[in-house]
Point group: C2
Chain length 311, copies 2
């Protein structure tokens, strides 16, 4: 058990990973309210959107406007997903605090999703790092190794390939790296083993776990990584972000359930439960008709935690 | 990580803990089919029902008939819940392989649920053990310490009280003891701490974890106990067994999700996934209109596991 760490960070990725997998376009006003209220509920890292062409993801076309608003909230780390050099240029223009570069450890998924091989994606990371340096930008460059635990297209993804790519992106100058179970194939033993190996290569530059709850292992996987000293996790309010290959399947780990996990263990996340639940109710209304997930919202906090103001 | 244990046992408790919390009475023919098909799917421990007065739980009034059928299935461990001496007499009459005696560590819950104090329940355990000895019965006596992690009525339940009661029921002659998170208050850190303490008192007589997924921590809690060497867990197909204090909240850990957890980690449970999923579909039809839970059923097995015949 990890008891050395007194706090954990939950990065809200509902506005990006969540909304990109839902066909409808959430109005910008709702997204602004989401960012405002997530901040008010104590969340201090939010993945605001993605700089991909609007024709590919019209759901995220307002990312620049959202980042501009996020930048007005003191202490909020506003990150954006960036698939290529062009996206990175836009992220730098809006002065995003961090950019997340996806790099798929599955060759098949990399070609299908990014239309480049993993090694071509590594070369892009190097170019983007160079761009940041040239502009003397203080935007953090984080690489998310997706399909790190397996892939719906390719099947198995070898840990040795994940290790090779982590080393390559660190050599290319990435500030941080995270491991993502994009399709929900991971179990706690896989998480322990892979994080343990990658920690040996990356040390504290490995500082994000991104888990989907597609097969019900999400919270257990968060816990497995936490036990190795990982303190930063992606999560989506109401567990949105389902996999297109499994209609109705759960998406990302639900923010509220992950916040409850940590709060119950006495680990500070800074999240105000009541505010987060009110925001969840708003999001549920905005996304009326979509399948939401998460478990805590229904039962509420245990009697033993009701007087805690902040989780 | 627990790697010393090569197999885990999932006791199906859907027919008891699941059905007792659902108002409708499932016809005996469906229950017989459930037992038959769970056995065919590889399950070798099933909590068949409960010997409580039929006026209190009409859903479980056919327990004797079901045990008689279960006894015809070679190698199946048929257990029944027994709330008092009278129930134990009936369990011995039908030659149940094991009887589960609930004992609530919460004084308030004990009075509300069993109409006796925890210490009066300990005295009952002693009387039941004596009865078994007098009849030279080979029925195992297992005590389930319920509300071991907290209580919706009383709030906090002190670990010291759980330890005291475990020692008392072992002194009274119980063969086995399990810890139950009856209301879904536990987190993995609480599970680690309490199981660790109880293991010191009970050793391998502590051999069951019973977790509810009310707040999404079920699988993570199973994993925390597994990491301490616990290899036997209660689970309900489709996660039925919700708490009456939290309408719509998840019930017990879903059998199929727990089976997947272990299978993915290479731990044998003997469960055939396809057969279990067909049974789940039947149960869903029999319980049409009830809220079911569990996550795996929707997405199915990962591509990497599709050719495995048995989980």
């Amino acid at each position: 058990m990890n008891t050395a760490q007194a706090s954990a960070i939950l990065r809200e990725v509902g506005l990006r990973d969540g909304l990109q997998s839902i066909a409808r376009v959430l109005p910008t006003a709702h997204k602004l309210a989401w960012i405002r209220d997530a901040y008010a509920a104590g969340q201090r890292e939010i993945e605001i959107g993605s700089f991909v062409p609007a024709r590919l993801l019209p759901q995220l076309a307002d990312t620049a406007e959202l980042v501009a608003f996020a930048k007005t909230l003191p202490g909020l780390v506003a990150s954006v997903l960036v698939p290529n050099l062009k996206g990175a240029e836009r992220a730098l223009e809006v002065r995003a605090d961090a950019m997340l570069l996806p790099l798929s450890a599955s060759h098949a998924h990399s070609l299908a999703n990014l239309r480049k091989t993993p090694d071509e994606a590594v070369a892009d990371v190097a170019r983007i790092v160079d761009l940041c340096h040239a502009q003397r930008a203080d935007t953090l460059v984080e690489v998310g190794i997706s399909t790190a635990f397996g892939c719906t297209l390719q099947g198995e993804v070898k840990p040795s390939e994940v290790l090779r790519l982590v080393q390559a992106v660190l050599d290319a100058g990435a500030d941080r790296v995270g491991l993502a179970d994009t399709v929900g194939y991971a179990d706690p033993l896989m998480v322990s083993r892979l994080f343990e190996q990658v920690l040996k290569v990356a040390g504290d530059k490995l500082n994000c776990g991104h888990f989907h709850d597609t097969r019900g292992m999400g919270i257990a996987n968060v816990m497995a990584a936490w036990n190795l000293g990982i303190t930063r996790f992606d999560a989506c309010l109401a567990g949105i972000g389902g996999c297109p290959h499994a209609p109705g399947a759960s998406g990302n780990v639900a923010t509220e359930d992950a916040a409850y996990l940590f709060a119950s263990m006495g680990v500070h996340t800074g999240i105000d439960f009541d505010r987060l639940m009110r925001l969840r109710a708003d999001v549920a209304q905005w996304l009326d008709g979509e399948t939401l997930h998460g478990t805590l919202w229904c039962a509420g906090l245990p009697k033993t935690m009701l007087n805690q103001e902040t989780l």
